[in-house]
């Protein structure tokens, strides 16, 4: 126990004396959180659309009015010719092309079905997806309106038609503010990156400098060495997490709906897991460069497949299966659940179990693979 205290003290002394480490711990997370949160804005507005109206009816005019009024679409051009529209799409002048066929209105009323053509530039998949979704909503809306209007004109229909109305309300993030959604996720990303890097670097650095050999000839026990290393880094990790929460509150006005206790309980275990990963990497690397590249390999996969930049539901099935092994995914889920939805410990028990097992396995691997030899 006393040995561990000496090691912990040494670790803190070294961190606070390291001119390169301090800004990484104190300044970098704040800057990253601010820059990334402001930049990662997935909201889609002002999609440019091209308008081909071969019907020139009341219904088609109504549709166009609705598009303009929605706030999502801006007219980029109009023509009677499909070729012009295709050219605009190819040149990137427009994002979508609406083509209203002749007899659009007639078919809609007489046969109660009609179609319009929508061509979308899908280079940016999420933009295309959302654009199509918005357009679809607006068209459905119009169809509904027209049908009720038509039915009400019929003389022999005194029965009140039941109107189907779709109204939206966005739960847990009422203003549809992307920052509310992104900031907790980016916070997870920072804790993961810093945790994995500092633990991998720290141990490999001792190997590079040669001091680990000196420790290895002392009677330090394996568990003392590992706890002596992990404990200070664990404190730093939780400290990072706290800085992140403070920035989220002061800069973005995001406070946690759920209890901070739940959040910190999960974060504590999660950081043990991340540090274990870094330590495991350090057991089979010789230089800081190697450790850096291997950590980076894992982190890129973890972060890009964590559900922060691409929703996991939108991934192909095999990729979704892979994300089940991605610890970042669980922490992002939990942070969002707790901070935005106010989830309690019971709601996140499955994620907690997964991360706790993960932490156990990776740390066991690290301890097993760490040899007290030169």
């Amino acid at each position: 126990m006393r040995t561990i205290l000496f090691l912990v003290r040494k670790e803190f002394l070294q961190v606070f004396r390291n001119k390169g480490m301090l800004p990484i711990i104190f300044v970098m997370p704040v800057i990253q959180l601010m820059v990334l949160s402001f930049a990662a804005d997935f909201e889609i507005r002002n999609l440019k659309y091209y308008w081909i109206d071969k019907d020139q009816s009341e219904a088609s005019r109504l549709l166009r009015n609705k598009l303009d009024a929605s706030g999502y679409f801006i007219l980029s051009g109009t023509s009677m010719n499909t070729e012009d529209a295709n050219l605009a799409l190819e040149d990137g002048v427009t994002d979508l092309v609406f083509e209203i066929p002749a007899d659009f209105e007639r078919d809609l009323i007489r046969e109660s079905r009609s179609s319009i053509q929508l061509n979308v530039n899908a280079i940016d998949g999420s933009k295309a997806g959302l654009g199509t979704f918005y357009a679809n909503q607006i068209v459905q809306d119009l169809a509904q309106e027209l049908r009720t209007e038509y039915l009400s004109r019929l003389k022999f229909e005194p029965v009140k038609f039941q109107q189907i109305n779709t109204t939206y309300s966005f739960w847990f993030n009422e203003s549809l503010n992307y920052k509310t959604f992104m900031v907790p996720g980016i916070l997870v990303m920072l804790v993961t990156m810093i945790g994995a890097f500092i633990s991998a670097m720290n141990i490999v650095r001792e190997r590079e400098v040669g001091t680990i050999e000196q420790l290895n000839v002392t009677p330090i026990k394996k568990h003392q060495f590992i706890i002596g290393k992990l404990l200070p880094l664990w404190v730093i990790g939780l400290f990072e997490f706290t800085i992140g929460l403070i920035v989220a509150r002061i800069v973005f006005g995001i406070t946690s709906e759920g209890s901070l206790m739940v959040l910190y309980t999960f974060a504590s275990i999660y950081i043990v897991m991340v540090l274990g990963l870094g330590m495991f990497i350090s057991t089979f690397t010789e230089t800081q460069q190697q450790a850096m590249f291997i950590s980076w390999f894992f982190l890129v996969i973890f972060l890009l497949m964590g559900g922060l930049f691409t929703a996991i539901e939108n991934m192909p099935q095999w990729a979704q299966t892979i994300t089940l092994f991605n610890p970042v995914r669980y922490f992002i889920e939990v942070v969002r659940l707790v901070m935005l939805k106010g989830a309690g410990f019971w709601d996140i028990r499955s994620q907690f179990l997964v991360i706790a097992s993960y932490a156990f396995v990776i740390n066991s691997l690290a301890v097993w693979n760490y040899k007290k030899v030169a």
Binding site: T3, L7, L13, Q14, T211, T218, P219, K221
Partner: protein
Amino acid sequence: MTNEKIIEVEQLMKIFGSFHAVDDISFDVKRGEIFGFLGANGAGKTTAMKMLTGLLSPTSGKATVAGFDVYKETEKIKKTIGYMSQKFSLYGDLTVKENIQLFGGIYGLKNKVIKAKMHELLGRLGMENSANALIDSLPLGWKQKLAFSVAMLHDPSIIFLDEPTGGVDPVTRRQFWEMIYETAHNGTTIFVTTHYMDEAEYCDRISMMVDGKIAALGSPDELKKGFNAQNMDEVFVGIAREGKVLK
């Protein structure tokens, strides 16, 4: 020096793949002796030392250090020995005082003992004014004397020195050897590797390693007589270049 054997090595081997780094060596070291381990770079000195300090497990053979087995009792060995390696081994970003406290603590010394030892040690090295200086800011000679003293902090019965004087000026080397003599005089066994032949003269007994084997073993005088040489340099060249072996 007594006749009690504190290190006993029998047919010790270390094989990396097909390379015999240490190839069937046998020797023993007596308590209080200064035992020199000589040889060219890559002769297997460091590998042999690593096996004796519990850093490396031997491939085959037998060895005990202070009565403890090098296969099974490495942790007990580690408590009894001190070690200073050629790669400088104190923490450069900690101060002199902090290093002493750290290693004292690791060896389980009480705070009072650490404090007393630090006082005594700094006084002996004349470094009272540098207690709060970072190790990195000290000249190499000081660092090495300090590393030696820190390795002696827990009063080990054997101290292993792996090329302790590499890169140090002659005056400091001289002072360093005076420290070694003093330590041996107080009953500590010294196991030292070096490739400075003049340093070999300071040892009680020497073993010369060539290609993982012990080519010659004896006191400096015995070796010089056996090889008909004026000094240790000639002995070394005789063994290393011409492959002469003394039985």
